[in-house]
């Protein structure tokens, strides 16, 4: 799957939890889940669980530790799908 395809899927997953529409509309690989999209940290757990369900992968705690922005999320998903 290309990063562009992954970003589209990720955008769909994070949409229910975002609290900054502007940052969401202008989302890039640099976008930070908490600082930019203002996702509540408890909802970041939901994002991770939704990613696991969507891609049928398991994100262990070591991988989760870096799940702070789109770039790292893409890298983690790509490595688990490989």
């Amino acid at each position: 799957m290309t990063n562009e395809e992954l970003i589209l899927k990720l955008k769909k997953i994070v949409k229910p939890y975002i609290q900054d529409e502007n940052a969401f509309e202008n989302l890039t690989e640099e976008t930070d889940f908490i600082n930019d999209l203002k996702i509540n940290s408890a909802n970041l757990v939901d994002v991770i669980l939704d990613v696991e369900d969507e891609f049928d992968i398991e994100i262990d705690n070591d991988a989760m530790e870096k799940m702070l922005d789109i770039k790292n999320a893409l890298a983690i998903i790509q490595s688990k799908l490989a």
Binding site: N35, A42, D46, L49, E65
Partner: protein, 190 residues
């Protein structure tokens, strides 16, 4: 170092489903899950420990700078209904939690000195407004404490996303922590 975290109880009921499959396993250690399972009110137990973790993490971050998302690495220990501590990479952070009818509030304080807290109601729950209100309260408290004109104070976030307080171009050497969630916000200053 100090940290704080507030949880709007009604808001969190709408926003988060802690009973969701996998949620507790991602957030809590085996020992913490045991405490939740055996507590009188698992809901309050979940969110009390969440606020302990957040509060201690904020305190930790001020010194260690490097952000990470791994709630299980922040291990909670409960002493009584108010007191507890969180261990992060072998460092112990003492916590103090209060339960009000509408919110749970935890502070972490590694200093000998006491911290001053102010919890308040926020009418408009849009995130930008919550932040604006919390900044206003911080400036009010610091203005009183240090007798600096409110209008000369401004706040800027560091690269790590931590807010810093300035008067004119000088950073003010004061430890503080800010939190907001739903209809509630709080400021702690040392």
């Amino acid at each position: 170092m100090i940290g704080n975290d507030i949880i709007d109880i009604n808001f969190t009921k709408e926003q988060s489903n802690w009973k969701r499959k996998g949620f507790l396993d991602k957030v809590f250690t085996k020992e913490e899950k045991y405490l939740i399972k055996n507590s009188e009110c698992p809901f309050l137990s979940v969110w009390r420990m969440w606020s302990m973790k957040e509060s201690a993490y904020k305190s930790h971050l001020q010194y260690h700078k490097k952000r990470f998302f791994n709630p299980k690495k922040l291990e909670c220990f409960i002493q009584d209904t108010k007191k507890g501590y969180v261990i992060i990479n072998q460092i112990k952070y003492l916590t103090h939690t209060i339960f009000e009818s509408n919110y749970i509030y935890t502070t972490t304080n590694s200093s000998e000195r006491g911290i001053k807290n102010c919890c308040f109601y926020i009418e408009n729950t849009i995130i930008k407004n919550q932040q604006k209100e919390v900044y206003h309260q911080l400036k009010k408290m610091v203005s009183n404490k240090l007798t600096i004109n409110y209008n000369e104070l401004f706040i800027q976030k560091s690269i790590a996303g931590i807010p810093k307080l300035f008067v004119q171009d000088q950073e003010i050497d004061i430890q503080f922590s800010l939190t907001h969630h739903g209809h509630y916000g709080a400021v702690s200053i040392l």
